[in-house]
Amino acid sequence: MEFIVSFLGIAVITAPAILLTSIALPSLFGIRLQEQSINRLTSSSVLIGFISAILMLIIMLATGSRNVPIDLGDWIVLPATELNESPFHFHLKVVFDRLSVPFVILTFLLCGTIGLFASKYLHREIGYLRFFVAFAIFNLGMIVASVSGTIEMLFFGWELVGLSSAILIAYFHERKSPVTSGFRVWCIYRFADAAFLIAAIAMHHMTGHGEFSALIGQGNWPEGVAQLSSWQAFWIGSLLLFAAAGKSALVPFCGWLPRAMEGPTPSSAIFYGALSVHLGAFLLLRVGPIIDCSLLLAISVILIGAVSAIYGTIVGRVQSDVKTALSFASLTQVGIIVAVIGFAGIAGGMGWSTLAIGLRYFALIHILGHAMLRTLQLLRAPTLLRDYHALDNALGAHIPNEDSRFKKLVGDRMYRFALERGYLDTVIDRWVVQPFVIVASTCNRLEQGWLNLLSGRRRDTQKPVIDSKRKDG
C-alpha cells in the first residue's frame, strides 16, 4: 500500500512537470508543436494527475489516514562542520492531507476544464503555444504549492504561479495596455514574494528546517499547535499576510485585479476567478496554527479580509464590464474567506479548538464552491450579451438597470469612490511609485553629470523611463 501511495503522490507532482517539460523544451530547441499535440499532452497530463489525486483520496478515506507525507529526500544538504554548526537542508516533501487533497483535485479539475475550453477559444491564435506554456507553469506551480510539505517548496510553487500570471496578463502583447498591466501585477507580486521569502527564511532560521510539521506542530490539518512565541508568530504571520494579500489582491493591493482581466478569458477564469486568487487564503489556512498564537495577527487578518470584502462589493457594483465586475465579486468572497480564517485564529487562540476547526473547514468549502462558480461565470462572460438578449426576449423588455439605484442609495461621493476603485492605484502611484522614480532619476542625473565631467562631454541628462503619471508607465 505504501508503494501505491508513494507512486500516486509522485504522479500528482510529475504529471504537470512532464507537461511543462514536453511543451516548453521543444520550443527552446526550435521544435514547434502542433495544436493537436499540445492539446493531447495537456489533456493526458491533467487526466493522469486528476486520477492519481482521486485515487489518493479514495485510499485515504478507505484507510482512515488523514495525513500522508511522502519524503522525496534532500534536494540540497550542507553538513554540519566546525564552522557551520547547524546543517542546511533543503528538504523535498509533499503532504496529502485534508487541505491539500481538495485543492489538488480542484486544481486538476479546473485546469482540465480550462485546457479544453482554451483549445477551442484560442484555436489558431498566434500565441497558442505561449498560452499553454504559461498554463503548464501555472498548473505545476499550483500543484507544488498545494502539496508542499515545506515552506521552501511552497515558495517554489508560489513563484511559478506569479510568473505565469504576469505572462498571461500580458498575453496580447502587441498592445501596450496588457503589457503594462502585466508589469504592474509582476511588481506587486515581487514585493509580496519578497515578504514570503523573508518569512520562509525566518522560519527556517528559527526551527532549523522548513518543514510545516515542525513549524505548525505535528497535528494533522486543521489541528496543530505552533511552537512560536506570540511576537514571533506576529512578525512571521504579518509577512505571510502581506504575501497572501499580494497574491489574493486583498486591500491595499487590489488595484491589480481589474488590470489582470486584460488576459484572455480562460486565464482570467482560472487565475483571478478560481485558483490563483485563492492561493493567499490557502497559505493562511496552511499556517493557521501560527495565526492562533497571536491575537493581534488574527485581528489583522480579519480586518484585511473584511475591508477587502466591503471594498469589493462596493466597487464591483459600478464596473462597466463583466469580467471586472466578476473580479471584484471574487474579491468580496476572498475577503470573507480571509476574515473567516482570522476568526478561526481567534477561536484557536482562545482554546475553542472545535470552533476553530469548523471555521477552517468552512473557509475551505467556501474556496472550493466559490472557485467553481466563478470559473463558470467567467467562462460564460464572452457570451454575456447573447445571454442578456435571451433574457430580454424572454421578459419581453429590457432588464432594469440597477446601477442607478446604487448611485441613489450611496450618494455621488461614494459612487465616485467606487468608480475610481477607491483611488488605491492613485495612492500607490503618488506615494510609492512617484517618489521612487524621482529619487532614482535624480541619482541617475547626478551620475550622468559626474561622468560628463570626467569625460569632458556636454551635459546630456536622461529623462526617467517610468513616468508614473502616465497610465502605461
Binding site: 534536494w75 550542507l78 515558495f155 569625460s455 517610468i466
Partner: protein, 468 residues
C-alpha cells in the same frame, strides 16, 4: 602540494595568448572569428581537464606537472584549488560564448586579439595565488578595455580615472600590507587602501560609474568579458578577506548591500539598454560581494554559487541584448519595440537568463540567492531583508526590460531576424547549464560549500560528494 597529471592550467592560460598572436595575423574577419572560437574551445577543454584532474586528486590545492612558472618565477604562483577550479572553465566558457554568438555586424569592429589577451590575463589572474602576481595581472587586465575605448574613439576619462585609482590603491595597499612578508599584523592604512581598491573594481557605489560608462562606450563583448568573471570579487577573496578584521568586512558588506539595492533601483529608470544591463550586473555583483563578506560558511557558499550563476545567466542575458541590438540598432527603453514575433527564441532566452539571475526557482540562481539571504539573515536578521528587496527590484527590472524590448507594439521589420545557428548554439549551452544547475544543484553547491569551508579555515565533515 599535489601535482596534476598534465600541465592543464598552463595550457589553458597560454592557449588564448597563442590565439591572440595567430588571430592578429589572420586576414579576414571570418578567419579571425574562426580562430578565436577554435582557441576558445581549446581553452575551455584544457580548463575542464584541469578541473576534472583536480577533482580526481581529491585535494584542496594542486599545481601543474612540469610547472614552468615555478622554474621561471617561483613556487605556488599558478595554483588550482577548490575555489578557483570551476571558475577557470566558467571564464573560458564566457569568452567562448562571446565569440560564438558574435553577430556579423559586430564582428567587423571586434578587436579579436585584444579580447583574447583579456582572456589570457583573466585566466592567469584566476589561477594566481601570489599577491604581487595578482596585482600585476589585475593591473594589466584593465588595459584591454582601455585599448578598445581608444580604438572606438570614445571618452576614456571615467574609465581611466576609476581604473587608475584602482591600480594605484591596490599597489599601495598590497605594498603596505605585505611588505614584511607576513600579513598577520597588517597595516590598517594598507587594508583601507585595499578595501577601496577592491570596491572600485567591484563597482561599489559611489565608485561604480565606470561600469555603466564602459558598457555604454566599449563593445558589449569586451565589457561583458571584463566584468562577468567577477575578478573584483576574486581579488577580495585572495587579498582582502584573509587579512581583514571583522569591522572591515562589515563595512564592505554594508556598502555592497546598499549598492545592490541602489543599482537595482537605477536599472528601472534607464533608457539605454546597455546602462540598464550594467546596473543589473552591478546589483548582482554586489549581492555576491555581500555573501563573501558576511563571514559565515552558508553566506560564502551562497556567494560562490551566485558568482557562478551570475557568470552564466548574466552573460547569456547580455549576449541576448547584444544580439537584439545587432539586429535593430540602438533600442531606447523609453518605448516599446515589440520584437517578440521576430526573435521568439531570443525573447525566451532573455526571460530565462533574467529569471535565473534573480534566483527564480528551478534555475541555477535559486540556491545561491537563497543561501546568501540565509547567510545574511543569520548574522544580521534585519539587514537580510535588503537582500530580498534588491532581488525583488532586479526581478522587476528584468521584466521591465523584457516587456519594453519584446512586447507592447508590432515591430514593422521585413528582414529575417531569426537567431543564427551559432547564436542558437550559445543559447542552448547556456540553457542546459541554467536548467540542469537549477534542477540538480547538489554537486555544485556542495563543491562550493567545501571551498567556502576551506577558505574560512575550517574542515568539512566526512561526507561523500553527494553530501550524504
Amino acid at each position: 602540494m599535489h601535482e596534476l597529471h598534465l600541465p592543464w592550467l598552463e595550457l589553458a592560460i597560454v592557449t588564448p595568448l597563442i590565439g591572440a598572436v595567430v588571430t592578429l595575423f589572420a586576414q579576414s574577419i571570418d578567419s579571425k572569428r574562426q580562430h578565436a572560437i577554435g582557441f576558445s574551445v581549446l581553452t575551455l577543454l584544457f580548463s575542464l581537464g584541469a578541473w576534472e584532474d583536480f577533482r580526481l586528486l581529491m585535494t584542496f590545492e594542486a599545481h601543474d606537472r612540469w610547472d614552468l612558472i615555478t622554474r621561471l618565477i617561483g613556487p605556488n604562483i599558478i595554483v588550482i584549488d577548490e575555489f578557483s577550479a570551476p571558475l577557470i572553465p566558467l571564464t573560458a566558457l564566457i569568452f567562448l560564448l562571446n565569440f560564438l554568438s558574435l553577430p556579423n555586424t559586430k564582428a567587423e569592429r571586434m578587436l579579436f586579439s585584444n579580447t583574447m589577451l583579456l582572456q589570457f590575463t583573466t585566466l592567469a589572474l584566476l589561477a594566481c595565488r601570489n599577491e604581487y602576481g595578482l596585482v600585476v595581472l589585475a593591473s594589466v587586465q584593465t588595459i584591454f578595455p582601455l585599448i578598445e575605448l581608444i580604438y572606438r574613439r570614445r571618452a576614456i576619462g571615467p574609465y581611466v580615472f576609476h581604473m587608475g585609482l584602482f591600480v594605484l590603491l591596490m599597489i599601495s595597499g598590497v605594498y603596505l600590507v605585505f611588505r614584511d612578508g607576513a600579513a598577520e599584523h597588517a597595516n590598517s592604512l594598507g587594508i583601507w587602501l585595499l578595501i577601496v581598491a577592491v570596491l572600485i573594481r567591484n563597482g561599489c557605489a559611489p565608485l561604480h560609474c565606470w561600469l555603466a560608462d564602459l558598457f555604454e562606450n566599449a563593445s558589449f563583448g569586451t565589457s561583458l568579458t571584463f566584468t562577468t568573471p567577477l575578478t573584483g570579487a576574486y581579488l577580495a577573496l585572495r587579498l582582502l578577506i584573509p587579512i581583514s578584521p571583522a569591522w572591515a568586512l562589515q563595512t564592505v558588506m554594508f556598502a555592497s548591500l546598499a549598492t545592490a539595492v541602489y543599482a537595482a533601483a537605477l536599472a528601472l529608470v534607464q533608457s539605454c539598454p546597455r546602462r540598464f544591463f550594467s546596473y543589473i550586473l552591478l546589483s548582482h555583483m554586489s549581492l555576491a560581494f555581500v555573501g563573501l563578506e558576511v563571514d559565515t560558511v552558508i553566506g560564502l557558499t551562497g556567494a560562490l554559487c551566485v558568482w557562478f550563476s551570475v557568470g552564466i545567466s548574466l552573460t547569456g542575458f547580455g549576449l541576448t541584448l547584444r544580439a537584439v541590438e545587432a539586429r535593430v540598432g540602438y533600442l531606447s527603453l523609453r518605448k516599446f519595440h515589440g520584437l517578440y514575433r521576430h526573435v521568439p527564441l531570443l525573447a525566451t532566452f532573455f526571460m530565462l537568463t533574467g529569471l535565473s539571475s534573480i534566483g527564480f526557482p528551478g534555475t541555477i540562481g535559486f540556491v545561491g540567492m537563497e543561501l546568501v539571504t540565509e547567510g545574511v539573515v543569520d548574522v544580521y536578521p534585519l539587514v537580510g531583508a535588503f537582500v530580498v528587496v534588491a532581488a525583488a527590484l532586479n526581478g522587476m527590472a528584468i521584466l521591465f526590460g523584457y516587456f519594453r524590448i519584446f512586447t507592447g507594439t508590432e515591430h514593422p521589420a521585413t528582414a529575417n531576424m531569426v537567431a543564427k545557428t551559432n547564436e542558437k548554439l550559445a543559447v542552448w549551452i547556456s540553457t542546459v547549464l541554467i536548467i540542469a544547475g537549477g534542477i540538480w544543484p547538489q554537486p555544485g553547491v556542495y563543491s562550493r560549500f567545501h571551498a567556502a569551508s576551506h577558505l574560512l579555515g575550517g574542515e568539512t565533515a566526512e561526507v561523500n560528494v553527494d553530501g550524504h
